[in-house]
Symmetry: D2
Subunit: 357 residues, 4 copies
């Protein structure tokens, strides 16, 4: 968009100077930056390799203690477009967190909504409001805003996973609160299944205690066995000739709050996608930003004009309105989280499918 | 409530006659009946014994064919207070339906919302919009309003179950439509699990096809294994010292629409209750009517001043504002359905707990 | 629909006898009545003339005192199809209420939702939860469920108006409660405007006290000046070439709850329609029942195959799924109320436009 | 919050270097900044004087043409804490816009939600989707996201007003689209009242065309006469002894979407407050940021530890969680807009009343 150019006029120069002195700023000299024709994110599409991340996390495990003050041994993806800030996108935080044998990350709580997703390993329990939640490969574990939580590793081997939060968004909008909790975890037991799951993870059923709609999902752990089964069935139904997949060869589920049918948390959407080997999703653009982590298999992300090969554990950031598609080389499982609930609740959502594979 | 009495006044007599001639009706002579201090249902608390129902259904199986026209071999509970109408309560229909070996009940659809609950037997598939749904003990099977459905028995033994519908309510409000479908069922296959379940019955997950809120649940079958597990866990959590049950010794789940977290259908609520042997629920009154079917065990329903012994398969009707409580002799499993969604959506709900056991 | 006919079979006769003895009732002998192809209301389309109603109300005013016990001098429309019950339709009560000079109808409250609409006269205040609400020609006055209310006539002339309530529905569903209040009205002042209006009747504005969604509208009086202006503007906009009317020559407004944008009460919809002389609305059928009162002008209601001439004050009942249209002879103002919120909240709504005028 | 300090360890230094090289960023060195105990906005409380703003806008009127490209002669408040960006708060844009005699600002549309509020003057029409909307003192005029709009001054005198938008939020979240429209306005007529008002600005009424819930209010102009009357009545009711004001001496209304009862737009709340002279509001903190403009009278804003005298036209910014109160010297009218809908829809809302005046 063209904008008014500065004439070499002393009166105008004086006016602009007076604006600045009075903490004022004219629209007409910068309209194109403030209100572009389409979203022009500073964040860039980017890929972090698991083969790079994990060894760095290991080294941090050797050198940096975990404990009160620093709170977590988490290493955040810093989008190269965002000036060194530890933000994957303007709204989303994504980090690898690493906990050594027998280590404990102390309890705290914060307004920021958080989840963990496990691409490999096990042996850590995250304790959410006193309820120990086992972490295992493929599981999505939730610590919604203002829930106390700590983690402890009961084994002799380290474990790493990714954390997803809305830290950048909460920071930008000045909406966050934080509170320290217990230095250890408040329940050291190590059950296979959390109490919240025992109460809430039954399909289509809810307990009569705790009726009503809830802001965040009461389910603390979405287990791999269920995710895998749901994706498997979609592809099987497709094979049998029934509409079940998102597009041919592309199964997908959204993690939901069973008290509303909507997203798991007010600011973060989480989904799991499974592509048959050879599938190429339709290219599209969406308002809002997404972070993907490859869970299994190999494939390619097409992001704008670039293409990147990715495999298990690799993390991919897709900023707002970036054209993207995924091409599966092998059968390909991908976890995704995004700020779509923010975009949709504020009625800013738009998508554009830019033609087939 | 006292009302104005008729004076022996010829002018007044003439006035009342003129009212009648003009299809008018004064309020003041009948206020107490029209607007009582508390609900005064015509329907009465009543119990039907399975040991009576089942043999009668069998005799109907021998004598009455099932087919187009009569549509279903269903025998409805006719509340003694409702003048012979085939209504369990003013809003709810409850019937035993019986299908002989190799019989088929033809397809049709109607505005009325319907479900089936199986207290014993198996071998019938209900085909809902072309999707065959196996019926087995403990399962809750749905055919929401305007879904085509038929039933066929694939075995050499008969099967009976209960049907629950909102026929009385729909009839009273003049809101029902009906349409005949295929004379046979449109899919004769007999899978263990329906396609709708394969797509939707994964805890906390939904497919990306079919997003948004739906008027009725997309789950066609709520399986006994899940209901049983959910109830079992509530009592186990209670044993471990955690809040999970509705009241001590009383576990309960509500069947829900996973796209909203609310009731399965717009007019009917369904729940399952499990009492430990010896538990006596708190006596209470609720606005709206409920039908219970004992699924397992023996116990007593206290209904107003009466008490009735009940066992597996027995059906109990509790009209609006009737004081009720349940006392479990053995471990006691009870299925329940009610018109609570009508009452709550129209903001007529009230409850009153009338002291402990 | 054909149903199974009774064969002259002693075993079958015995079976039916045993059904009756056990309070059971087979579906197959009565399916067509229970579940007709389209709604087949017992209520019939009917018209009551104001010129008949008003004199009868006057005679009641001379002969029947108003006071505690009978509570109100209200004379209800008794639909000829409903067996003498004082019901305009299965769900709706409509009555003319008459209050003589200086008379008071004592305070009470009930679950039933109520409104008054004034087709002529003034001088009565209805006191709603202690807030006096003046009643004048064209006004819609509300007394939502469980609000205390009484009426008092401060003038030397009588006044009559119509009451609309959900008494039949509440009675049928056994959901009603009733409580007596003060024998006189709790505030005898006679302001032009109620306090609720002063707080709430400003377009697009709400007070910061009382935020949140409310079950029923906080506005106690919808004044004629606003209704008239809104209808006038729609026709003026139509004249200027803009889309504003419901159909050509037909302006219409719905009375709404400003805290939700939805209907004024959970069970009753109220609307006002204005037709230019000569306009004939498109014939249509709707699920649910409606009562119309002509406010001004002369015209014709086409109801099924019948046509009736109507004028100011005449009341017309349109049962569910009855084909109806309105033909305006002069400019024609009509008030309408219906059970549409019940039908819509329970997802039973359907309409069918059966071709143009 | 204390954070882990960097030890002088070469291995650690190397690790941090490797993090940076891989676009990674550890949490533990910066936790306190990322997740403070309470919101710590960069934006500061600040006041802009109308007596400064208006003359600068006039000078811009003399020196800078308005037209396609720059689009608007709008001069934005640039919060001193936000590094020179033209943002009043992280989420809100506030600007003075100035249009000289006979000038036209061309039509365009954008995802950003916008309103205008007029503290003095008249003579401009803003044309919203082809509907001319007169702008007069005290009026709130809306141009919701994606509505075409232009402004034209039909008089011989200039006019200035304030614009409020969600530009910073939309920019940060990369959710904005922009499109040019007509170079002139598409309807040059100058009616007193817009067509949208004629259709929608009737208290408690809505047209039957355009039913359903809408994302943004259909009312284009909230007129001063209604706002003034609503505030006047609240104080009058308080004088008469009834609960109507927000706190003693403090009347307040919220501008709402009549189709929902909620906020006028998805991202911006607007309210009007009236204080009696001498009233001091309770001090409080709220999550989210607000911009106030004094409409009439003189008073003081207490912001954290500072106090500022303000009068007609002055603009005050209150960042998130800043303690604030208002003290009225004279009768005092204040317009306010905030990002509260963002905060509330994402369930980040918190408030803390920090004791009385």
């Amino acid at each position: 968009m063209r904008t008014q150019t500065h004439v070499e006029d002393p009166a105008l120069e004086q006016l602009y100077g007076d604006f600045a002195a009075e903490h004022l700023n004219p629209l007409w000299t910068q309209l194109g930056d403030l209100m572009p024709m389409v979203p022009t994110p500073k964040a860039v599409p980017f890929v972090w390799k698991w083969s790079t991340l994990y060894p760095l996390a290991q080294r941090a495990g050797d050198l940096v203690p975990v404990g009160r003050g620093g709170e977590r041994r988490a290493i955040a993806l810093a989008n190269p477009g965002l000036g060194g800030l530890p933000y994957a996108t303007p709204t989303l935080w994504a980090a690898i967190q690493y906990l050594g044998p027998k280590e404990t990350a102390p309890e705290h709580r914060h307004s920021q909504n958080a989840f963990r997703f496990v691409v490999e390993g096990d042996g850590v329990w995250t304790v959410v409001n006193g309820d120990p939640v086992a972490m295992r490969r493929g599981d999505l574990l939730l610590t919604p805003g203002w829930a106390f939580h700590g983690h402890h590793n009961e084994t002799d081997h380290p474990m790493a996973w990714i954390d997803g939060l809305d830290i950048p968004f909460v920071n930008y909008t000045d909406t966050g609160f934080f509170e320290f909790g217990s230095d250890g975890v408040t329940d050291e037991s190590t059950p296979d299944v959390s109490r919240a799951e025992r109460l809430w993870s039954h399909p289509g059923l809810r307990p009569l205690v705790g009726l009503g709609r809830r802001t965040t999902t009461p389910i603390t752990a979405y287990r791999w066995q269920h995710t895998d089964a749901a994706l498997h069935e979609q592809l099987a139904l497709e094979d049998e000739g029934y509409a079940a997949t998102t597009e041919p060869g592309h199964a997908a589920v959204r993690f939901t709050n069973p008290t509303t049918g909507g997203d798991i948390m007010a600011t973060i959407r989480a989904e799991f996608h499974r592509l048959r080997g050879g599938t190429h999703t339709r290219a599209r653009r969406d308002v809002g930003s997404t972070v993907y982590q490859v869970f299994d298999g190999t494939g390619r992300f097409h992001l704008g004009d670039d293409t990147t090969e990715v495999g298990t554990g690799d993390l991919v950031v897709v900023p707002s309105w970036t054209e993207w598609s995924i091409e599966a080389e092998t059968d390909f499982d991908v976890f995704a989280f995004s700020d779509a609930p923010i975009v949709e609740r504020l009625h800013m959502d738009r998508s554009h499918v830019t033609e087939g594979a």
